[in-house]
């Protein structure tokens, strides 16, 4: 029985977050996830040691550079570079969506979509996994320039409703996070259906 309540959106830095999709053990390898997972899946412990690779490298950058933060654009390209390096050694099987807030960027927010082959594209909206087949067309229609947070969350909820209606696998358990000038915060988190 797969774990149903893994929060797959990791906070990378104070103003950026990375959502990942793919087989669980590589998620653990690639992002900052894995706290407590060694109890649940002790046979994956060696992977957990390599855990948190991206976020800790970003933290190291801040420490080594007098508190200077890497821009979202730089973080995304660093992440893409690591995916690309691993591709010909031992590929990460993750697809990534990285979003962040920078003061000196018009409108502040930027979003990058990356896949396990090391491609990277700056987008206005994105999706990874089976969801993309359903949700990209919704966002094609609904997205427009200058949305506020409320409108954006509504579009996400529209996508989730559509998945619940149309998608073969029942996934009623979603978490929505927002990144803005105040940092990363959770806007909505459903409970794990297997908790009852």
């Amino acid at each position: 029985m797969y774990q149903q309540n893994l929060d797959k959106i990791a906070e990378l830095s104070s103003h950026s977050a990375m959502g990942v999709s793919g087989p669980n053990c590589d998620l653990v390898n690639f992002s900052e996830l894995g706290t407590g997972l060694s109890d649940v899946t002790p046979h994956l412990a060696p992977y957990h040691d390599q855990c948190r690779y991206i976020s800790k490298n970003l933290a190291l950058y801040e420490l080594s550079n007098d508190g200077m933060k890497l821009s979202t654009h730089a973080q995304a390209n660093f992440c893409r570079g690591e995916l690309a390096k691993a591709l010909r050694k031992g590929p990460f099987q993750v697809n990534v969506i990285l979003g962040g807030y920078d003061e000196n960027v018009p409108n502040g927010g930027s979003l990058y979509v990356m896949d396990y082959l090391g491609s990277c594209q700056k987008v206005n909206y994105g999706a990874q996994g089976y969801a993309s087949n359903f949700t990209l067309s919704i966002m094609d229609r609904d997205w427009e320039e200058g949305l506020n947070e409320e409108q954006a969350v509504k579009i996400v909820e529209h996508c989730i409703r559509e998945l619940n209606m149309r998608f073969l696998l029942n996934q009623s358990n979603f978490i929505i996070k927002v990144v803005d000038k105040d940092g990363v915060r959770t806007v909505k988190a459903d409970s794990d259906p297997t908790d009852n």
Binding site: L70, H73, A74, N77, F78, G81, N104
Partner: protein, 270 residues
């Protein structure tokens, strides 16, 4: 007494000194002077070209000024051959950072990398230190225009204005009095009554160029300034926010020298 402890870079003397590093710094005090000045709208670096001979083939590259990346340039004082190695290192580092992060490298980051490379030669391997001091001029969005100086020990610091190479002390003392004082009203006397009240007003690039030539006039010990002996460099931003690296041509250098000459000729007139 220092003799027993000065032949190896990796040995401290009983007084806690690294003699090889100090000797390397001495080597630079015989090299052609280089002055760097931070301006409101850019950075200026002026260097004395020591290697002048009528038999030399016309130079296509400079022996003093080197571009490291689109937003950083350095000048060299010391062993040119040593400098070339370090400049390669700096260029590689800037390029690799740009590849990894798709962003220009922050200047201090670049300077620190070169300095860490130099430091290794004061601690490992039994190799002699690099006999080079650098002035780094650069621009990044985090801190704007910056000027850094580094020496063979691997130490670096940020400056508003500084001098390296021959007679640098004389140059620095001139900068202390002249940098930041408003040069448009050259009749004002600088008073030492209230140092806390003195506000440093950063010069414009044009003013900084003139000040740099003045400094070189002093350090070159009365030798006549001319475009063959001086190399003037200025870094500014164009309207699109891109860095412009300019090594002034002979005519432009002549013009600055002439302006300085007329300024000093009329100084003190009421």
């Amino acid at each position: 007494m220092a003799r027993r402890y000065d032949s190896s870079t990796t040995t401290f003397s009983p007084e806690g000194r690294l003699h090889q590093v100090e000797y390397a710094i001495e080597a630079i005090n015989n090299a052609g002077t280089s002055v760097g000045i931070l301006a409101k709208d850019g950075v200026v670096m002026a260097s004395e070209k020591k290697v002048t001979s009528g038999l030399l083939a016309p130079a296509r590259t400079s022996e003093k000024t080197y571009k490291l990346c689109p937003h950083a340039t350095c000048t060299v004082a010391g062993l040119t051959a040593d400098a070339n190695i370090l400049i390669d290192q700096a260029r590689l580092r800037a390029g690799r950072y740009a590849y990894q992060y798709q962003e220009p490298i922050p200047i201090e980051n670049l300077v620190e990398h070169v300095c860490n490379y130099k430091q290794a030669y004061t601690q490992y391997g039994g190799l002699r230190p690099f006999g080079v001091a650098f002035l780094f001029a650069g621009y990044d969005i985090h801190h704007g225009f910056q000027l850094y100086q580094s020496d063979p020990s691997g130490n670096y610091s940020g400056w508003k204005a500084t001098v390296i190479g021959a007679n640098n002390q004389a140059g620095k003392s001139l900068l202390k009095t002249e940098y930041g004082s408003s040069s448009s009203s050259g009749d004002e006397m600088k008073t030492d009554e209230d140092p806390a009240k003195e506000e440093i007003e950063m010069p414009t690039t044009a003013e900084a160029l003139r000040l740099a030539v003045k400094v070189l006039n002093k350090t070159m010990d009365g030798a006549a300034a001319s475009p063959e002996k001086l190399e003037l460099f200025a870094m500014t931003l164009d309207e699109d926010g891109n860095c412009v690296h300019k090594i002034l041509n002979a005519k432009e250098v002549e013009a600055v020298i002439a302006e300085v000459e007329s300024e000093t000729a009329t100084a003190g007139d009421t």
